[in-house]
Symmetry: C2
Subunit: 191 residues, 2 copies
């Protein structure tokens, strides 16, 4: 399992073949089936294993939003360390004990809030999604995706690309975006 995670970190999920994992363990591919029922099993275990890196969960001492944001930042860092994770968590079977524990901890932080459970589940889904979104942006931020393309039919695009990049924004967008979203979902609407 650690071998599989190492391969995925290095060469992506597609490189995690039973034969590759077995080779790294200096054994045969068929031997893995003594411990795993299938490759999907292995992927599920990988997802839940790295989810353990979200521990320890922060103590809910401050405001609930601060605590949730801390947890969301941990999620983003996790997805930056393991870019392949986002491909796995959209599979329902990848929900293991560690993932559930994180869910439960989030719900624990939100427990004092009067919002209905459906809103809380939506809020957790948003946390996950935003964390993945920002992690991907940082992970794939290397090369410009417009290299080698004929951009002449797209005037606004060339205008935006020729303009020099400005300084990064002062406050972190992640906190502002997610904070606003969670507040809108969970807090009694002040509007």
């Amino acid at each position: 399992m650690a071998a599989a995670i190492a391969i995925a970190d290095a060469d992506g999920l597609a490189a995690v073949s039973m034969r590759a994992v077995a080779a790294r363990l200096e054994t045969g591919a068929a031997s893995l089936y003594r411990y795993l029922s299938s490759r999907d099993d292995l992927l599920d275990l990988m997802a839940d294993r790295v989810a353990a890196e979200l521990r320890p969960y922060p103590e809910p001492d401050g405001h609930w939003l601060d605590t949730l944001l801390r947890m969301a930042r941990a999620q983003r860092a996790l997805h930056e360390r393991h870019p392949w994770l986002s491909e796995l968590i959209q599979r329902a079977s990848a929900i293991g004990p560690e993932t559930l524990a994180f869910f439960d901890a989030c719900l624990g932080v939100m427990a004092p809030l009067p919002a209905p459970p459906t809103a809380k589940f939506e809020a957790i889904a948003m946390m996950n999604g935003i964390a993945v979104l920002f992690a991907r942006q940082r992970t794939a931020g290397g090369a410009s995706p417009f290299a080698g393309l004929d951009l002449t039919p797209y005037p606004h695009l060339v205008a935006a690309l020729t303009q020099p990049p400005a300084a990064p924004p002062a406050t972190d967008l992640f906190d502002r975006a997610l904070g606003g979203l969670l507040r809108g979902l969970l807090a009694p609407d002040p509007a």
Copy 2:
């Protein structure tokens, strides 16, 4: 290509094998390579083909935010029609002319705004991400992902699940969340 999209809509991306596509076209698998250089090529073409469904782009008559929200809603509807699309757009090679045209249209709507280009690109990425997020939530909303799991170690989870589901929120979360996000990214910060 239409055959491949039909297969993906019906049975998912994994079912789009060269042999399956060829069978639906009543031909041999090798024949496809007269028109496609690889399966990845086919996937890229599929992604750009369905991106054409985003047309016609709305006229930028109202406020820029209204126009962007309309375009984001079209994206969400697209991802609900083709759930496999979200797996494709994270590949850089999937950026085709239709995708670029949509990008360009978004930038056109944002053209009067004084925000730097980087902020506008981030805003488009957020639009994409949020649209995928909401589409997935509606697509995979069928069965509860906690079926057949032992939830006893997760007290907050069982507490939330036993509570009866409340009525859905009044205003659409999609507009509120994305609107707030885009305003925060693009409009001069009033804080």
